[in-house]
């Protein structure tokens, strides 16, 4: 008997099925359960059940302490994205336009932090930013003669920002350099010949044309920073308390699972909003231009 080939859709589904089952069992289902905890009630005994309530979410917004953590998380993510973008542009331009040897070296230097374990890297930053005069930063500042008072960076949000910029820089540089590399080099030359000094050519031509890479980079860096745990846990201290750390405290210290679930819900929303929001902003910008110029 000759076997007839199966329809393509059946084959496709069969190929997809193992991964699909894995994801449903170990990602979708737990996520749904966890998020549902956020709107359920925890009894004195610790059982989580009905009735439905928005109490946990309400506390997150109403409570001064919790609200401050949400805002600080957003602020750290935003500031980190901003500094990462500023640092990433020069590096990405060297990678995109530099001589092959410089391009290669810069790429290796930029990617290097990713190959070091997050724990090791963070301990390193603890040594660097230590608030005592023996911390590397303070020791260097002292050697440069900036006065006797040690700078207090460790256990503040700034320590988290610095370490996050360090580790997330490659995630900004890579999409940016790809985006820059796609820009026709004669556009910059045309701008220069038309009378633009280098910086104006960058602002009017290179920057707007590299927006897709910037959008991708900012989205990634913002989401990852807002959702990070190890870095704020080890460097941020209580003054730099972020949502990830707060969530861990709710589970391990307060045993308040509905609250932890609500925090997780907020973090998911922040990540989604960053992904959708930044892309939407950039697209709207492009759309407005296209409509105004009447191009089809």
């Amino acid at each position: 008997m000759t076997s007839r080939p199966l329809p393509r859709s059946v084959v496709g589904l069969a190929l997809l099925l193992p991964a699909l089952i894995f994801l449903v069992v170990f990602l979708v289902l737990p996520s749904v359960i966890l998020l549902s905890y956020g709107v359920l009630t925890q009894s004195q005994g610790g059982d989580i059940s009905l009735p439905l309530t928005m109490g946990s979410y309400e506390r997150l917004v109403v409570s001064e302490t919790y609200r401050r953590v949400v805002l600080l998380t957003l602020r750290v993510a935003l500031v980190t994205s901003l500094f990462t973008a500023l640092l990433a542009y020069p590096a990405a331009m060297v990678i995109a336009y530099g001589k092959p040897i410089f391009s290669r070296i810069t790429m290796i230097l930029v990617v290097a932090p990713l190959v070091v374990s997050v724990i090791v890297r963070t301990y390193g930053w603890q040594l660097m930013l230590n608030n005592s005069p023996t911390g590397v930063l303070n020791w260097m500042l002292h050697a440069l003669g900036t006065g006797p008072t040690p700078v207090r960076v460790l256990y503040t949000e700034w320590a988290t920002v610095i370490a996050s910029v360090h580790v997330f820089l490659p995630l900004m540089v890579l999409p940016l350099s790809a985006s820059l590399g796609r820009i026709n080099p004669s556009l910059n030359e045309a701008a220069r010949i038309l009378g633009a000094p280098a910086w104006r050519a960058f602002l009017r031509v290179t920057l707007p044309l590299s927006l897709p890479g910037l959008v991708a980079g900012v989205t990634i860096v913002f989401s990852l920073t807002a959702g990070s745990y190890v870095t704020p846990q080890m460097l941020g201290g209580t003054r730099g308390l972020m949502l990830g750390v707060l969530l861990e405290q709710q589970i391990n210290t307060s045993f308040d699972w509905p609250m932890a679930a609500a925090i997780a819900g907020v973090m998911v929303v922040i990540a989604l909003a960053a992904n959708v929001g930044v892309g939407w902003l950039a697209e709207r910008h492009a759309l407005v231009r296209a409509q105004r110029s009447g191009a089809r």
Partner: protein, 361 residues
């Protein structure tokens, strides 16, 4: 009129560019008169593009100087040179509308908005694109895009217009009409212009003078007529158009004209005295030749006959094996093919004025 640029002359002296140890441009000295259009022509790697980019300021010369209107601009940064440039890929800003592209150079000069608007409109109407001012470049055809680039280049009233293979990306018919259009605008505005091309027809059509470059040096400079009919070397003669080359010895003078006995048999006269040399290389353009079945001129054997529309190309071999080519016009609708056929023994003749002695290299 958009730009009444005060026309300036352009000069290079000893312009040289080394890439590593390669002399991409090697001591080029040339003067281009105000309002003149000069085409730099040559095979790829001859240094023509490097020369253009040094004029623009995109590459710094290793040695030598560029002077515009007698002023040395060799060290002037790109954005202060007041140059208009057309690129092969148009280089329009894809995120700016046609009008914004044209306005760019004026904005960089700090011109007020109220003044920019009419200037942009004038420039666009000069290239007949006024109706498309609000489009994005991607919504335009290649020819329209290059016209926008032209408007963008001339609206700043440049002292110099540079064209880097501006029509290379266009198809043939459009290229022909754009050649005429760009040339007309350049002449009307009286802008000094330098064009780089590897298309010999484009150079002959558009330029007042053609500069043939080879290995970073100037090979020959002259009007299109001079370059075509009075080439100095075998290189120039074969780069511009198609050419037959005949070897021979000068055997004497007759009526002031040197007589040359061809290695392939037959004898021809040179139109002007050859410089004392005994052995000469004579170039003859294929369109100067007529063929006959009568025994008159130089004998040849037909190898192939190719119909090419306006002319029929007859490929022949002379008796010593030298390849020989004649372009016969298809004039009376009477195909040349019917008069001759492959393998025929035939006699080629031409006017002595078509002979031109060239150097070997």
């Amino acid at each position: 009129m958009v730009a009444t640029a005060q026309a300036s002359d352009l000069a290079f002296s000893g312009l040289t560019k080394l890439f590593g140890t390669t002399r991409a441009v090697d001591g080029v000295t040339l003067r281009i008169a105000a309002g003149e259009m000069v085409a730099l022509l040559g095979p790829s790697g001859c240094g023509k593009t490097t020369t253009l980019r040094m004029i623009a300021g995109l590459i710094e010369p290793t040695e030598g100087d560029v002077l515009i209107g007698g002023m040395r601009i060799t060290r002037t940064p790109v954005h202060r040179r007041n140059i208009g440039m057309l690129f092969q890929n148009y280089a329009l800003f894809p995120h700016l509308s046609v009008a914004e592209n044209v306005a760019f150079g004026l904005q960089m000069r700090g011109m007020r908005k109220a003044l920019i608007k009419p200037k942009v409109a004038q420039a666009l109407s000069l290239v007949q694109l006024g109706a498309l001012a609000d489009r994005l470049p991607s919504a335009l055809s290649g020819g329209q895009q290059q016209r926008v680039a032209l408007a963008r280049a001339i609206v700043i009233e440049p002292t110099l217009l540079l064209l880097d293979e501006p029509l290379g990306a266009l198809d043939r018919n459009l290229r022909d009409s754009m050649q005429v259009e760009i040339r007309q605008i350049q002449q009307r505005l009286g802008i000094t212009a330098v064009m780089v091309t590897h298309d010999q027809e484009e150079a002959l059509t558009m330029a007042d003078r053609v500069v043939i470059m080879r290995d970073g040096k100037l090979e020959q400079v002259g009007t299109p007529e001079e370059i075509y009919s009075r080439p100095t070397s075998r290189f120039v003669a074969s780069f511009i158009g198609t050419c037959n080359f005949l070897r021979g010895d000068v055997i004497g003078q007759e009526a002031g004209r040197p007589q040359v006995r061809l290695a392939a048999g037959g004898q021809i006269a040179l139109p002007s005295p050859a410089n004392d040399q005994k052995e000469v290389l004579v170039s003859v353009r294929p369109e100067a030749i007529s063929l006959s079945a009568e025994e008159r001129g130089t004998p040849a054997t037909i190898l192939q006959i190719v119909y090419r529309g306006q002319a029929t190309h007859v490929h022949m071999a002379l008796d010593d094996g030298t390849p020989f080519l004649a372009f016969l016009p298809n004039r009376d609708g009477k195909p040349v093919r019917s008069a001759f056929s492959t393998g025929d023994r035939i006699w080629a003749s031409w006017s002595p004025d078509s002979n031109w002695a060239v150097s070997e290299a």
